[in-house]
């Protein structure tokens, strides 16, 4: 069945200090998680621009994961607080425009939470698998407007 052939594509935008380190920890602890996630490292969740997520979908992502330090633990003291506001607003907008909530997951994963990272990735991939490929977005691809 085609469902098996389709490999969900999840792009994860993570901060360098907490979540990236947390993912490293998952590795050093040899925890196993789903292979369909690709991590892009940034200094801080505060650096993550909503445009990244739009672009990720345009590039064929079926799901996006955004993760950084827990509130209060930001390496840059307030980066994730600002990011939190940004995501609260942005996720509501995406929801309003009809993008299923399960396609964009926001999380806090600290450098000590390797296990949380592993579970998180598995959950996100599972949810996206349930939704299937993000064909709705793919359909926007058409360049023919009228003919």
């Amino acid at each position: 069945m085609a469902e098996n052939e389709w490999k969900p594509k999840i792009i994860a935008f993570v901060c360098n200090w907490c979540t990236y380190a947390g993912a490293d920890l998952a590795g050093t602890s040899r925890l196993k998680y789903d292979v369909n996630v690709r991590v892009i490292k940034l200094p801080c969740t505060g650096r993550i621009d909503p445009l990244f997520i739009i672009k990720a979908f345009e590039q064929g992502a079926d799901g996006v994961l955004v993760s950084g330090c827990h509130p209060g633990d930001c390496h840059y003291t307030s980066g994730n607080y600002h990011a939190r506001r940004r995501w609260i607003v942005f996720s509501e907008l995406l929801r309003f425009f009809g993008i299923p909530e399960d396609r964009v997951q926001f999380a806090w994963v600290s450098a000590a939470e390797g296990a949380k990272w592993a579970t998180l990735v598995n959950e996100v991939v599972a949810k996206v698998r349930q939704l299937g490929p993000f064909t709705a977005y793919r359909e926007l691809e058409t360049t023919e407007v009228l003919s």
Partner: protein
């Protein structure tokens, strides 16, 4: 045209077991812009690094991607290797195919595909990388310490002894702070002044410490290594160069009834005064509020020069020919350049007026802990004898109440003042040692005696010196035939208690020094709702603030006892010495920069920057007219978080190392 070299590490079996490194190398060879790709058992080994260096030379690489372990592990290794081969280190990137791939996946084919993706992403990114040069900021190796209490003194001495100049600014006429007011100190009961005054003298005489007493910091500009501070020296009306501190002026002053802050209101002082005998510097100042001549001048509305009232001090001054007394002296504002600033403004005591039920102020024999210190102090108003302020009799029974203000949400102070448990225990001992037949009672909520020899100390107060500890709050205190009836509850026995006391001592809460918020704003550092100054990170950067080059010491940050204040003073000093270790600061070039052509100057970036690294910049035309205002990043201050970049709607601010172009390339590659 990009010439990227890709180096795939097996990490022994660690990667190779689940990722087909050779296949990744082959795939890499087919990526646009890749001119060389190879896999090797241990890239981080010397031969591995040599392969990279050779390839850089042989294939004239413009970028290097090492697919191996986490960059947190070996990024520096490979960047150094690249640099040694003459490639800018920031043109070297790592793909994490171990922690993020081989170690967390089992299916070899899938893991290999993922590894290829991760390599492709980095290849695309590295093509957009730019050569970056470390940022160098010159450092003025000279420190400013604000506050002359024990924390400030310790900091100043450590920095000065470390070989650098220090400016120590104190707002009162003498350094010493609260510690100078204390009688003995817990848990050793050694005399506070005996251990403090030698340090004060050392400061006063230190060749590298410049003392600004009776002065306050007015403004601070600049950034780490390059601050410019304006210091206001209030007019002391005494020429410090001429005055020899003989004290004749004080003797002569007719204004003798002014309540003394140093004596916590239990003693008096003259209008021309120095706060206490061991003051450093030992030069008096004229308190212009209370000085007769100034009062008359104010009343008549004439300039002080024309006023002839009193002048007893002037006559008494033995200095010839020019007297040390100078009524016409005015405030001076001096500008100094410093490279680092340590804030040590200390604490204040919670005003007990808020506790009507405890009647502080209504009855002279209900006093604060600090007042008790003065009573117990050999240099105090009663030369160390415990006597009731009201009638000078010796109190036979004293009630000590802890947590007055502290841990009382109703009074708006949820936090614990930390030192009260200890000093109350100390008070009961001092009292017992001075009044052998006296009885001390202590009302407490909990006894918090964490610290070296602290709990032992409290136990001694109870077991050896017989202080009676009652767990509970006091509901009311009122006068009854010359004594004080203290009504309270003993929550352990569940009984109401009433104690006939001759004196009541309130362990009042510590709070931030008045106007700490103003100072914080001048310094551009943050503070909490109680106006205690905020550290950069509660665990890992307890001494730094968010503003690089501004550090904290002592109780201005949170309630602290003397050892802690001193320890933090030394910590702050060591940070300063670190900053001063070379005449240039070198910093990672991962910083933001503004495209001034398209910046519209809304300054949202300035609002969000956690470090105050962004300020307005005026763009002027040739005639000097301001054409527009844009944001400007101070490379010396920027820490490279990139918050401003994602905040900017027009994306006209970008972050080196994580630029829009680079992230975009990564997203496209995945």
């Amino acid at each position: 045209m990009a010439r990227v070299g890709v180096f795939i590490c097996h990490c022994g079996e660690n990667i190779a077991r689940t990722v087909d490194s050779a296949a990744v190398a082959d795939a890499a060879k087919r990526m646009a812009g890749v001119v060389y790709a190879v896999d090797y058992k241990y890239m981080c080994s010397d031969p591995g690094q040599q392969m990279i260096k050779d390839a850089i030379a042989k294939h004239r690489l413009t970028g290097v991607v090492v697919a191996a372990c986490s960059p947190r592990m070996h990024e520096t290794t490979f960047r150094r290797a690249s640099a040694e081969a003459g490639l800018n280190p920031y043109l070297c990137e790592m793909s994490n195919i171990r922690e993020h791939c081989s170690w967390v996946h089992e299916d070899k084919q899938a893991a290999t595909e993922k590894a290829i993706d991760l390599v492709r992403a980095m290849v695309e990114k590295v093509k957009k990388n730019e050569e970056l040069q470390p940022i160098r900021v010159p450092v003025t190796r000279r420190a400013l310490v604000i506050g002359g209490g024990i924390a400030g003194i310790q900091t100043a001495l450590d920095i000065a002894n470390g070989g650098h100049e220090v400016l120590l600014v104190e707002k009162t006429p003498s350094i010493g702070g609260h510690m100078a007011q204390l009688s003995e100190t817990f848990p050793t009961l050694d005399c506070s002044q005996c251990i403090l005054t030698p340090r004060m003298v050392e400061v006063g005489q230190h060749p590298r410490i410049k003392l600004y007493v009776y002065s306050e910091v007015e403004s601070v500009d600049g950034f780490i290594g390059n601050f410019e501070v304006k210091i206001r020296q209030k007019a002391t009306s005494v020429d410090p160069k001429l005055c020899n501190g003989c004290g004749a002026c004080r003797e002569a002053c007719p204004q003798k009834k002014i309540p003394s802050d140093f004596e916590a209101g239990l003693g008096t002082r003259t209008a021309i005064y120095s706060p206490f005998p061991q003051a450093v510097p030992n030069k008096p100042v004229i308190d212009r509020e209370n000085c007769l001549r100034f009062r008359v001048a104010r009343k008549k509305g004439i300039p002080i020069e024309e006023c002839t009232a009193c002048g007893k001090c002037y006559e008494a001054c033995p200095i010839e020919p020019r007297k040390a007394i100078d009524f016409s002296q005015t405030d001076q504002v001096v500008t100094e350049k410093v490279g680092a600033i340590v804030v040590a403004t200390g604490f204040d005591l919670y005003p007990t007026d808020a506790y009507g039920e405890y009647g502080h102020g209504k009855h002279p024999d209900i006093i604060s802990g600090l007042q008790f210190e003065r009573l117990a102090s050999a240099s105090g108003p009663t030369s160390g004898e415990i006597r009731r302020p009201s009638d000078g009799t010796i109190p036979k029974s004293v009630v000590f109440i802890q947590c007055v203000g502290s841990r009382d949400n109703a009074k708006g102070i949820p936090y614990c003042s930390k030192i009260c448990c200890m000093y109350t225990a100390k008070h009961t001992m001092l009292y017992k040692h001075k009044v052998h037949d006296g009885q001390a009672y202590v009302f407490y909520m909990d006894i918090r005696a964490g610290g070296k020899n602290y709990d032992e100390f409290v136990r001694r107060a109870i077991e050896e010196d017989g202080a009676v500890y009652l767990r509970g709050r006091v509901s009311r205190i009122f006068r009854r035939n010359g004594r004080l009836a203290v009504l309270g509850a003993d929550t352990l026995s569940g009984r109401k208690v009433e104690i006939e006391a001759d004196m009541v001592v309130l362990a009042t809460a510590m709070q931030a020094q008045l106007h700490t918020d103003k100072l914080a704003q001048t310094l551009g550092i943050s503070y909490d709702q109680f106006e205690f100054l905020s550290e950069a990170h509660p665990k890992l950067r307890p001494v730094e603030t968010n503003t690089a080059g501004v550090l904290l010491a002592g109780a201005c940050q949170a309630p602290k006892d003397i050892p802690e204040a001193v320890a933090q003073g030394s910590a702050a000093a060591s940070k300063v010495l670190g900053i001063f270790s070379s005449d240039e600061l070198e910093r990672e070039p991962i910083i933001a920069s503004v495209n001034e052509n398209i910046c519209s100057g809304c300054l949202a970036c300035e609002a969000v920057c956690p470090y105050g690294a962004i300020e307005e910049k005026e763009i002027k035309d040739r005639d000097g007219n301001v054409v527009k205002v844009v944001a400007n990043v101070n490379p010396g201050v920027c820490q490279g978080c990139g918050l401003c970049v994602a905040t900017c709607r027009a994306n006209c601010i970008d972050l080196a190392g994580f630029s829009d172009e680079q992230v975009y390339a990564e997203i496209k590659a995945l």
